[in-house]
Amino acid sequence: MEAGEEFGPWLARQLRLANKTQAELAEELGLTRAAVSAWITKRSVPRPTVMGEIAKALGTDLGTVHTRTTDTQAGLPVTWYHRPGYQDGGRDGGNAAAFAFDADVQVLARETCQNSLDERLVENGRPVRVRYTIHELTGEKLEAFRAALLWDELQPHYSAVSESAADQKVGRVVDAGVRDMFEKGRLVLLRIDDYNASGLTGDDYDDGKFAAVVRRQLESLKSGRGAGGSYGLGKATLWATSALGMVLINSTLSVPHEGRTERRVIGRLELPWRSVDGIPYAGPAWLGRPDPETHNAEVVRSWWADEETVERLHLTRDNDEPGTSFLIVGAHDVASLEQGGTDSDDEEGNASDGDGIRDIRVMHRRLVEALGRDFWAAMTGGGSRLPLLETSVRTYRNGEIVLEEETVDPTDIQPSRSRALRAFYEGTTVDRLTEAGQVALRAVPLKLPLFGGRSGTLGTHQGVLLVTEAEDKDGVPNQVHSLRGNRMTIKKSTVHGLPLGVTQFQAVLLVGHAAGESAPFAGEAEEFLRAAEPPEHDRWGQTEELTLRWSHSAHNRISRLTTEVNAAVKELVVRPKRPGSEESAKLRKKLTVQRKTAAVKRGSGPTVPELVELDAEIGESKEWRITAEVKLPRADELPAMTPVVLLEVRSGGRPRLDWAELVAVEGCEVEGGVLHFEQGARRAVFRGATDPTSHPVRTELTRLALELRAGSGE
């Protein structure tokens, strides 16, 4: 049984929800108001006999009053609250953050996993598990889900937005999303669950993780990483991925709120400004339970839902482990269309089912790809070290499995980089690469500047550079991926200026906390690089924060690190040159006969008759019997050709065999061992048999070669 909330606060909330005063309850129970007040202020608890009366008064059963793990169903039901339009009539056009960029599940994967990593419960040392579930609904299942969502309440709002579709991008996206659901009769849900994470803790309105995600949207975008807590710009991608601008949330908290942890549920909708029945609405809306403490009890807040409700909203979590589930309603992946080039609008007449399956399969593949690419390091462990992160992707359609749950395996997607990191954790790195598959380690210095623009160096952090041979699956070769404490690839840079012939490699640079516990100035380096990281987390360089806290030239320290890294890489993978061998290098280069790799290039067609097909077998009297096809060029006059049959040898001259028989089959004539082609023919076929007495060795030990030579073949 779950640990229930204390009676007093619980009762107070139930009264608020039911819109009842303490006096009214006291009257119903036939007690004094002071007695009820004593319960609420925790000075006393009701006698067991009174509990039944209280349950009756709140319209619930005795069990609920005893356990106090959920709210009573009394009071105002769960509903959508749409923020009213501004008094001044301003139309901001909805949440800019959510619609600033095109939906891209790969960006979503990056941002959501990043958040989960930041929210990982570190004390137990276990990884945070993040699971992506793609679920396509059609038919009855879709109907049921829409009902659970209270779609009918939303319909007028979506219609209003659709009408404005011509004017704004947001409107067009939403309009397309709604049409997709009704015309194709399908809806894609993309759910992101994390386990062993902190969950959305804190009050509905005050500072805390919950408010940071659910309430503060625009604010966090404006003030950057500081105010938004861990959930920065990234969370906007959740809404951006929904064609309907809708995300439902179910969180299990690591720290109880209102005495509870499980099934804290809320929904949030991002729509542009709209007018419904003449009433203007600002944009956002929330699905929740009306808060009696707010004006007119209109504003809704999260509620502690029962199991049936989360089931109907597709929000059921696997177990009571802390973490959050985000359900993106109407998930779409515009970026994949750009890549795939299939425009689904053109195929509306076709069976949309097959099309939908393709969409969700592509989404699945792109998620796996992105997770492997961006989080291979966080997913890699080694030695006594567990990975920080585990991820998986699975795909359903109406509850049936389309693609089995696929655990993203960094050794499969990033074989050489994950091998490098594992070797570092296991302590099996080498100083020099002498065998394929080895991982070399080099320390590279990052000189940290002093704060506040003072010149000088605070200290030298030793980053760890790992270099190993590349594999095909790693993608672009000869790259350095740089990571700090969160193990996310921040910076990818290609090492340039490598001489021809360098065996392809992959390198990993670990700096800050990633460089290991014992690395000097790890914390300072981590702080410095975090400051040098833009919100996109995709590079280190000049940022406002870097300039303010350090100096205008602080980013030069990072350039110097890059120089050090490239030099160290080259030292490991490039053959050192003897002094003076550079001399005449240019001339040598011009005089190099390059090894032929490709076949001889062909023009638009053959200019001479060409053998295209050869079939051969050994006949009864050990002769080679051949049938050959010749492709003929389009030409007014075709040259006569001689078929020459030779035997391949180990080395030196090839013995030429005699023809015992040479017969034209099609498109040619044979005259004295020479082929004459018919005018206008495009192909010719001839048959032949060798004279076995001209074979220098038993026929079954020979390898036949047939050639066409010009003229009489001499």
Binding site: V649, R650, S651, S694, H695, V697, R698
Partner: protein
């Protein structure tokens, strides 16, 4: 016939084909007039002074002896000279691959031998008798001395030069075989000698047929897989080369002893000997030269 140069170089050197070219006069090739040796010496690049292997005198003495001994039967000189040249001029294969040393030996030390050994048949009239320039500075299988040295290197069985004598006694074998890389496989080379000794193939035509059979089947067969060879330790050869300093002149009557290298495994030689004999005996042509 031309004489040896008046000026004999005391040491072998490196003579590039380009540098040698002006000395390969029509008179020299026709065996009318040799060169004095002084001008040639100017265009030779010296080899390291301290290495006793480059002394020319022992080689010249060997040439003098062979000229004397085979005055009447020059083709038989090959079988005698090949092992002795190999033992007298101790080289690694790397060194022997430098054609310039052979150019110098032929043109600088023993042009008279080249002219004597390779002048075209005298029956066609002395006026037409001519030596191909390739015998002085040509490819390793044509050049007068390098072909003998390489024949000895490829056919010796470790320290044993006896197979070299058999191989070089047959002009057809040495001519055909040296052009092919089949004998780079030591068991193949030894097996060829065995087939020759067994009398299965003796005439030039038969030997050509044998080689054609082995070479043709070699397009699909990997003989290495049938007959393994032993690893040769490079130190064995180095030791033998170092001993050149103290080694006595090569014996004239007995065969010299080669480097103490691992001999070819007997089992491999036997396997291939049988296999080659079978290839030859079941071949339809059997020595009838395929029509060209």
């Amino acid at each position: 016939m031309i004489e040896q140069p008046h000026h004999l170089p005391p040491r072998l050197g490196l003579l590039s084909a380009t540098a040698a070219d002006p000395f390969l006069t029509e008179d020299l090739l026709r065996g009318i007039q040799g060169h004095g040796g002084v001008d040639l010496a100017k265009v030779v690049e010296p080899l390291p002074e301290e290495d006793p292997r480059w002394r020319a005198e022992p080689l010249r003495e060997l040439i003098d002896d062979v000229l004397h001994q085979f005055k009447e039967n020059r083709t038989e000189a090959d079988a005698w000279l090949a092992p002795r040249l190999h033992a007298a001029l101790r080289l690694t294969r790397r060194e022997a691959a430098d054609r310039r040393i052979w150019n110098h030996l032929a043109l600088g030390v023993a042009p008279d031998y080249v002219a004597w050994r390779h002048a075209s048949a005298p029956s066609s009239g002395s006026a037409d008798s001519r030596v191909a320039a390739a015998r002085f500075k040509g490819s390793p299988d044509r050049q007068c001395f390098s072909r003998l040295w390489w024949a000895a290197e490829l056919f010796r069985n470790g320290r044993d030069y006896a197979p070299v004598v058999v191989a070089c006694s047959n002009q057809d074998l040495i001519h055909t075989v040296m052009r092919s890389d089949l004998v780079d496989h030591r068991p193949t080379a030894q097996a060829l000698v065995r087939v020759l000794q067994s009398g299965i193939a003796t005439t030039g035509r038969e030997i050509n047929g044998l080689m054609a059979a082995i070479n043709t089947a070699g397009a699909t067969l990997v003989y290495d897989a049938m007959a393994a060879d032993e690893w040769r330790d490079p130190e064995d050869l180095r030791r033998w080369i170092e001993e050149a300093e103290t080694a006595p002149p090569v014996p004239r009557h007995e065969l010299p002893t080669g480097p103490e290298e691992e001999p070819v495994p007997e089992k491999s030689v036997e396997t291939l000997t049988k296999y080659f004999a079978d290839l030859f005996e079941t071949a339809p042509v059997r020595g009838r030269a395929p029509q060209g």
